[in-house]
Structure formats: structure tokens, C-alpha cells
Symmetry: C2
Subunit: 455 residues, 2 copies
């Protein structure tokens, strides 16, 4: 193998089977998005560096793939370029070297698009976007440097009906994928209220950061962390009571109301959850779960937050989202609220694979292979094949008059279910032999009946 | 407008209408590719720099978008990085700065893939690939820095049946797009024969380069160029006779046979064209044209070459391709022959737009907007809407109980054909008002009849 024939770490080639399975996931999600009135948007793979830098935190900035400006091999520019390049080393602006970067997520390009087109868009604006993003993360199992994101957002509306709709989209998509999931809901307002009850909003970050780790490290370690963060035993007790709330929707909300006293922020969050529950229609496969331990790391969420957990699969969240107050402020258009959800397509793929939930029909291949048994025969076969294709049947004619077994092997390797044989005898008789490779069964029929036989 | 909210020169955002029209083109081509037994392949946006450099000529190398390595803001690396950077200025290897680059076309990544997986692939291997590519070209009308390519190739077979199939694919795709085209064919072997008749194969490049310009500069200028290139008057006369060959397929091939005497190379090309013609089935809209003035710039073509011209549109070629002898030699797997075609999707889009050939149905939007007239009303509307969505009807519920005209405007702007109104009267009566926005016609029906009414 030539050492040239490799691909960059953390990237993947997708062969036919994989592409088709991924298309099945994309198409299922796309169809549901459009049933709910969301419209597609596609943005360029590259954005101006300014658009991306500073939006993902210091760590995020480091993981953005930057694109080298062209024309750098121009000696005339050397000094200026070296100077600019020194700036990279100082982490400063470095336009001489790089002005563009690869999309790191779909949210910032969407915000940039909304800001650019704000006047023209019909509000509330509902868009979905299914495109790859690139991150210079350390590649590891299940983490890639190129992967697809699949987002739906509504901007320009504070209405909770949007959260209701997005919850229904999750339920519908996973019902169609026949993948049982828990749709977990919480509200950042409840977490804010908890922080207030603990003594102040300034405690919200340490509290949510600690709660966020509950699945991984367990309650005791969470309490230790809170202690280290300087929370008092009574505060930690309150948080423990909060985390231990159990029961059905009504019981949970009632217990929380009691626990939170009359904290108005928490009460808002509780009312919002109650509103969504009342609208929610149970769909086969999906369960709506109120999960007070759900925190979502991202600080820009301000209201309802979502997370999707596949049932019966060893896998982290396969989707998530939430409400945010200000999408486009960074791009000069303030006060555009919104709410959005995302599907983790790579993880959904792995779960469907593990649970063997991909339908057979997803793998569309050639249905009929015509054997090639000479010039006159293949001309006849070609005409018949074109007729099948006109009727939507994928068909091939073997490319040369090779030995039978060679043509057989080709059909087997490509898992073609039917082969059609037209030798000199059949050519003269106007017939053809049709053989089902799976059953081995074979019959001679009139060439005119071939199409009907295959439907 | 904040100056941050812009996109890089030569890139585009695609809004819903544009995405849907583009999907219509992609889907039409994809469907035909699969009917012909071609299977999808997707490769990463980034390739190793080694994979791409030196494959597109000196000019091409300059137009490759290179990706800056990460971690360059590490002062410890400074000296090494500066040294590496100096190498960029000398146009040398510069791994310290950049090891990856963006895909420049789909052919080289395909070749890289075939070389990497040669043992596993079933030959002949038929793949199609529809993905964006990136080029640091000077942006201008109809030329972008990010654009889609749409290729189908067969590798591992010398059989002319592949050329027959690819010709049929072109005819079928443009028939389905209802776009009249000329499928122009020639053979590099004929051009080689012409060069031999003119005195030697070394004349092939100057001759093809000159002929390639015929459309743009005209016969006289082509002759001047050939003269400057040092061809004799008698050689130029031969080329002029060649370029002036007219008539139907048979006449053209007969005249060429005479003109080329017994030149075996040319005769091979002539026989190959005759073979393809004999298989070709006329499809509505497409005409097969033997075009001896067709040369195709690319030197790696060795046999039949294709070019597609839209009829009745001011537009260059909207597709092209040809046969090549050695796809993967550069990646250590020699002697893999193949033949491929490509569709120029951006140009096809512009032509379909100009000739207004996009079907109405391409623009799928929301079909029904439920007005929001209060909490109880919207809960009823929501239930009805979910029923419509289950049946595949795209529907929306206005996000808040606003004034009638505001909800109307939303429906109009989004071109929603039907609105459904459930006020307190209808709620109690179990009815709803359904209004066709286009005709203005409105009727009150039972809520149970709504779905049937809309089918």
C-alpha cells in the first residue's frame, strides 16, 4: 500500500451500505422536520474566522480548523507574512495567514445567517440544517474530526408551543426509526431557582456543573464537589433532596413546588414543564421523563432543556437542545430568542446498528444482473434492461462475455437477487432464463414477460 | 449590519427554495445512477496534503485550500514552525504548518479510495459521488470557491459497454429533468490518429489545445495558432478538413475513415464511436452528436470523451467526462482503467431556472396553518394538526394567539395554501373553518372531515 493512500486521522470514508443507512436516518429526520413546517438551510463549509472565533470558549477556539490563505508562496509577501505569523504564536489576529475557518457547529452559522437576513425572514423563522462540521478534537472511539450535525431551531418566538413542537418532533422521529427513547426535560429556570434557594444565582454555575456529572461520578462525589466549591451542608442537603425527587410527572412537580417554597423563578420552570406535559401525546417507543438531574453544560440555555437517551443501549445522549434568549446579539441583532434541538446522527447510527434496527429495504442495490453471452445476446439484453430501468428496477448487464462462474461471482458479491440469462437458444426463441440466486429456483419465460415477473 | 455577519467570497448560503431545487437535481441524478447499478461513496472533506498536491498541475496546486495545523499557538514550537513556514515560501513541503487540505475534486479522493481498498472492491467497481469541492479560484459569475461535483465512474473494465451505459445515463437524467441536450462524443484516439497523420503523436497536445479553443476563437484563429506552433500548411489543411466534416453519424464516420487513410489508432476510435451509436436508444430531449471538434483539455483521457451542451441556453458545457487508462497508479496500484462522467450541477441549476423547468412540486412547504385563537382552541387545533401530520400533510399551528391579520400575513408570506380556524364557536360545535388562501373560498366542516378534505 502506498503511504500516500490514507485519510486524515478522525475522518472516514463511507461506503455504499453506510451511506444508505445514514441517508435513511437523515431522510427520516428531514421528513419529520418538514411535516412540522421547518425549512432547509445550507451554509458554506467555510466561514470568516471572525464569525467563529470567540464563540466556543478558549478551548473551542483551539479546535477550530483554520484555512491557510492562498498565495502565501509569494516571496514578495514574506516579511509581512512572517510578521502575521508571529501573531498566531501570540494568539492574535493573523489575517495574513488565515481569514477563513471550517464550520465548528451549525448554530453560529445559523445565527450569522439570521443576522445577515433578519429583515427578509418571516418570523418566527423555522429552519433545519443537516451538514458536516469539523473539530480538531483528539480522535477517539465515537469521536470524529468530521461529523454531521442535524439541527432544528425556531427563532423569533417566546412561545412554549415551540418546545411542545420540538418534543413532538423527537417523539415522531424515534417512533419512525423504531428506536425506544426517553425524552428527558428540565428547565434552567428550575436550576436557577435552586441556586437562589441555596443563597444566590452566583451558585448556579458550580451547582449545574456538579449536577451535570451525576451520571458519571455519582451522588457522593457530586456532594464532595459541592462541598469543595464552598457550599454549606444545609445547601447540599437541599440539592440532595432536589436530586432525589421521584414519582410520576404530577408527583415530581408537586414535590418540587414544595421544596422550592415560593421561589418565582423555579415556579416558572415548573409551570412550563406542566404546560408541555399537558400537550404531549404519547407515541409508541418514546417516554417523556421529567429529569431534575438534567443540567446541560452550555450556559446559553435559559429555559426548557432537552436530552434524549436511547433505551436499552450503552450510549450517552443521542440528542439534546434547549431555549436560548439571544441568538444573534453577537452579530449586531439583539434580542432574538429561540429554541432548538439537535440529533446526534453518528450515535443514532451506532445504536440502530447495535440493536439491528435498520430495515432491510435501506440497502438498495442492483436487483437484476443480465449475463453477457456475446454481442448479439448482450444487445438484446441491453434493450430488455433499459425497459426494466424505465420501470424503476435497478439492473446491470455484465460488462463483457466472461465465463458463467465469473459473472455469477459478480452477482453474488454485489448481492444481486436475480440473474437473467439470454444465450443463443433464448435469443432465437425470444425467451430468457430468470434465476433467483437466493432460492436457486430458475425458470424460462418469454422476454416480454420479464418485467412483470420481476415486479 | 455588523461587519461580522458576512460569508467568505465565492461561497453561498442556500435558502429553502434553493436547497429544494438543488435537491431535485441531485435526487434525479442519484436515482438514475442507482438504476444503472452505481453505488454511493462519500469521502472526507479533508484529505492529506500529499494525496492532493501534484495531481492538478502547478496552477491547481495553488488553488488547493490548505488547512492550518492546530496547536500552532504553542510558543515552544515557534522556531520549528517559522522554519517550516519558510518552506511554504519556497513552495516546499511544510508539514509543520499544514498537513491537510480541502478536496479539490472528487476524482483524486476516489482514486485514493480505490487504491486503499483495492483488494475488497468487486470489479468492475461502479461508484457515484455527490459532494462539494473547494477551489481558491478568483470568484466570478458562475464560478464559486465551494461548489458541488456529481460524478459517476466505472473502474476495472476496458469494456465499451461502460461508455454505452454512461451515454444512456446522460440521456435519461436530462430526459427526467426535461432539459433538451446534445450529448457530444469524440475519441482521443481519433485526435491521436489525426496527430499521427500530421506527422507524429508529439503534435497531439498543440493540436488538441488549439481545437479546444474552436468555439471561443473560431477556425481562422485556430489555424493561426497551429501555424505559430510550427505546423505546415498541408498539416493545417488536413486539420481543417477534419474539423469541417459534416453529416449524420454514418456520413461523418465514413468521411473520417477516408480522411484518416488506414491510420489504425484513428480507426479504433471510429469503431468505438460506431459501437456506441449502435447501442444508443434515442430518448426524448437528448440528441447524440458525433463532434470531431470536441477535444477536452485534460490529458489523462485516452479514449471516448463526452461533453453535454444544453439546447437553447447560453451556457458552456453542463457535463463531461471520458475514459482514462490509469486511475490509481499515483497511489501505488497501477493499471486500473476506467471511464467516468460528471454533471455540472450549478450550471444545470442556472439553465433550469432560466428555462423555468423546475416543477412546481419541488417547493414543498407547509400546506395548512392552524390559527391560534386561545388556549383551549389551540389545544384542539394541535390534536387535529398531529393527525394531519401523521397522514403526511405538513402543518403548523401559529405560535401565539395574535390578531387575525398577523396570522394571515404569516400564512401568506410562507405561501401556505390552506388555513384552518377554530374559534370558541367552532370549538363547541366540533367544527372548523377551512379557507383556501389562493381562491379565497372558505367552508365550515366537521373537525372529523378535515383530513379527508385536505387530501
Amino acid at each position: 500500500m502506498s503511504n500516500k493512500a490514507g485519510i486524515p486521522q478522525g475522518t472516514r470514508d463511507f461506503n455504499a451500505v453506510t451511506v444508505q443507512k445514514r441517508q435513511y436516518i437523515f431522510q427520516t429526520i428531514r421528513t419529520v422536520f418538514e411535516l412540522y413546517g421547518f425549512q432547509p438551510l445550507e451554509t458554506p463549509a467555510m466561514e470568516n474566522l471572525d464569525t467563529l472565533m470567540g464563540k466556543y470558549g478558549e478551548e473551542g477556539d483551539k479546535l477550530i480548523f483554520k484555512i491557510l490563505n492562498n498565495g502565501l508562496d509569494n516571496p514578495a509577501k514574506k516579511d509581512q507574512i512572517i510578521a502575521d505569523f508571529d501573531k498566531i504564536l501570540e494568539g492574535k489576529n493573523n489575517k495574513g495567514i488565515t481569514e477563513r475557518a471550517l464550520r465548528y457547529d451549525l448554530t453560529i452559522p445559523f445565527a450569522r445567517y439570521v443576522a445577515m437576513n433578519y429583515g427578509q425572514l418571516t418570523m418566527p423563522f423555522k429552519r433545519y440544517q443537516i451538514q458536516p462540521v469539523w473539530r480538531a478534537d483528539r480522535p477517539q472511539k465515537g469521536r470524529y474530526r468530521e461529523f454531521y450535525q442535524c439541527d432544528a431551531d425556531v427563532v423569533g418566538s417566546h412561545s412554549l408551543l415551540n418546545e411542545v413542537e420540538l418534543t413532538a418532533i423527537y417523539a415522531t422521529v424515534f417512533q419512525r426509526l423504531q428506536l425506544p427513547v426517553e425524552i428527558r426535560l428540565n428547565s434552567r429556570k428550575i436550576l436557577a431557582g435552586l441556586a437562589e434557594q441555596c443563597g444566590g444565582l452566583d451558585l448556579m454555575v458550580p451547582i449545574t456543573v456538579a449536577i451535570d456529572k451525576l451520571d458519571k461520578i455519582g451522588l457522593e462525589k457530586v456532594k464532595e464537589e459541592l462541598l469543595q466549591k464552598g457550599l454549606s451542608q444545609s445547601q447540599i442537603d437541599l440539592i440532595e433532596q432536589y436530586l432525589n425527587i421521584q414519582g410520576d410527572h404530577t408527583q415530581k412537580l408537586a414535590q418540587l413546588t414544595t421544596l422550592m417554597g415560593n421561589n418565582p423563578t423555579a415556579q416558572q420552570g415548573i409551570d412550563e414543564l406542566a404546560y408541555i406535559i399537558q400537550y404531549h401525546q404519547q407515541k409508541t417507543g418514546s417516554t417523556l421523563v421529567i429529569d431534575f438531574t438534567l443540567a446541560r453544560g452550555l450556559n446559553y440555555y435559559t429555559g426548557i432543556i432537552f436530552e434524549i437517551k436511547a433505551v436499552g443501549a450503552e450510549m450517552g445522549s443521542i440528542g439534546g437542545g434547549g431555549r436560548y434568549d439571544d441568538l444573534t446579539g453577537l452579530f449586531g441583532v439583539p434580542n432574538v430568542p429561540g429554541v432548538g434541538i439537535s440529533f446526534g446522527v453518528d450515535r443514532i447510527y451506532d445504536v440502530l446498528e447495535a440493536l439491528q434496527l435498520f430495515p432491510e429495504a435501506v440497502q438498495k442495490g442492483t436487483k437484476v444482473l443480465f449475463f453477457n453471452l456475446g454481442e448479439a445476446e448482450s444487445q438484446r439484453a441491453f434493450a430488455l434492461m433499459q425497459d426494466l430501468r424505465e420501470r424503476g428496477i435497478a439492473a446491470e448487464l455484465y460488462h463483457e462475455p466472461s465465463k458463467f462462474d465469473k459473472q455469477f461471482k459478480y452477482a453474488e458479491k454485489k448481492q444481486v437477487p436475480y440473474i437473467v440469462i439470454i444465450g443463443s437458444t433464448e435469443l432465437n426463441a425470444g425467451t430468457c432464463i430468470i434465476k433467483n440466486i437466493v432460492s436457486g429456483e430458475q425458470t424460462t419465460i418469454s422476454q416480454n414477460d420479464l418485467a412483470n415477473q420481476l415486479f
